[in-house]
């Protein structure tokens, strides 16, 4: 067997085993997307209700004067929460996020605002550590399956540094929005100072009713607003988890397709080489036989 033939056989074998791995990853990601989507769905009622409650409170109290809703006149420091993934193999997911985060950083710095990144997910943490960027906070280990306590932990840290005397004046969040299996968008939102996102649908029965508060409007707001921030972060984490799996599935699908294409090309080349070898052998045998026959004819 020729050296070239052996080489091609070896390459085909190796590409085949790679294709097996990427195919398995693709299937795993597909099943995880479904679960991640279910978790996203399950979180919707809470988010809807808390948005309604916040809207109710805010529309009831004529002047909402809460530290979390008041925008400072000259913001000097901003925190940016970047939600990346823990593991790779997910195409451009993290690269897109970090590019958007860099753009936001440039925009804020051009306005004279100092930026402190808060990073969730191993990939983002590694990215910042490699560039020796100081992080305001880092969280890893839950990007595929975030729980509410993870969101709470992040929200607590953010709110604390927001409330601190010389802390950050505004908080932005860079995350990936899950639109569908095929479409995920990187979105940038400001979460603090709070802008209450009103539900798009108009209230069913006219204006919101006049609420009573237990114990008081201020106390309700005090505990309602942090919960609202937590819920926003939780929803961003869930959407990121689903988006991560979706882009992983896509990346692994194209990897499998590419591997199969490579196998096809290599098999073709291998067959060509093998055929050439056989042809050469036959012509050698025929040539040899002819030479022998000629030699025998010459003797007679």
């Amino acid at each position: 067997m020729g050296a070239q033939l052996r080489l091609l056989r070896r390459r085909i074998k190796s590409v085949k085993s790679t294709a097996k791995i990427t195919r398995a990853q693709e299937l795993i990601a597909s099943s995880r997307i479904v679960k991640a989507q279910q978790r996203m769905q399950a979180a919707v009622p809470y988010e809807r209700e808390i948005t309604r409650a916040v809207t109710g409170v805010v529309s009831n109290t004529s002047s909402v004067d809460h530290p979390l809703t008041v925008a400072k006149e000259n913001p000097a420091r901003a925190g940016v929460l970047i939600i990346t993934s823990d593991s790779g193999f997910c195409g451009g997911f993290n690269a897109n996020l970090l590019r958007e985060a860099e753009a936001l950083r440039g925009l804020l710095e051009s306005r004279g605002i100092q930026v402190t990144p808060f990073v969730s997910g191993r990939k983002g943490v590694g990215w910042h550590a490699f560039r020796h960027r100081e992080m305001g906070g880092q969280w890893v280990g839950f990007s595929r399956r975030p729980s509410y306590s993870d969101a709470k932990e992040i929200a607590d840290a953010l709110i604390e540094s927001f409330k601190a005397e010389d802390g950050i004046d505004e908080i932005h969040i860079v995350s990936t929005e899950f639109v569908s299996m095929l479409t995920q968008n990187v979105v940038v939102n400001r979460i603090l100072p709070l802008e209450v996102v009103e539900t798009t649908e108009a209230p069913k029965d006219g204006p919101l009713p006049y609420f009573e508060f237990e114990p008081s409007a201020g106390a309700v707001l005090d505990s309602l607003l942090p919960r609202y921030v937590e819920s926003r972060i939780f929803s961003a984490l869930l959407q990121s988890a689903a988006s991560e799996e979706a882009s992983r599935r896509r990346a692994m699908k194209s990897a499998t397709d590419n591997a199969n294409e490579l196998i096809r090309v290599f098999t073709q080349q291998m067959n060509q080489v093998r055929q050439a070898e056989i042809t050469q052998e036959i012509s050698e045998i025929v040539g040899g036989a002819n030479a022998l026959a000629d030699a025998a004819a010459g003797k007679e």
Binding site: E49, F211, F213, E214, P215, R227, S231
Partner: protein
Amino acid sequence: MAKLQVGVVSPEREIWSGEADMVIAKTVEGEIGIMPNHAPVIGVLVEGGVLRVKRDGNADLVAAVHGGFISVAANEVSVLAEAAELGSEVDVAAAKDALQRAQAAIESSQDDADAQLEAKRNAARLRAAGEEV
């Protein structure tokens, strides 16, 4: 008589939703009972409270509710709990175990806030499951 539309939700899932005649919850100001046509109200719930939903013809629905809010408007009651569990879903043995551990931690150090919270939560879980605490 009008009915209440009740939804009990935690951040991770919807615990229960349906019609009811009366909802009893524990806010930081004390117990509050909501019947149909109640005035709109938003209340802050206590850590480790027990929520009771009275229904026609059915046994009461009992749930352990930890923190969060109750909001009532136009015969719609939503309970937004940071964590919640139906009484029927509580693992009684595990909750008892956790309660004992938390109480032991409280005895060893008086100002262990985490352990006190844990004790409150597990006591509520047991009460929701119909156990005497």
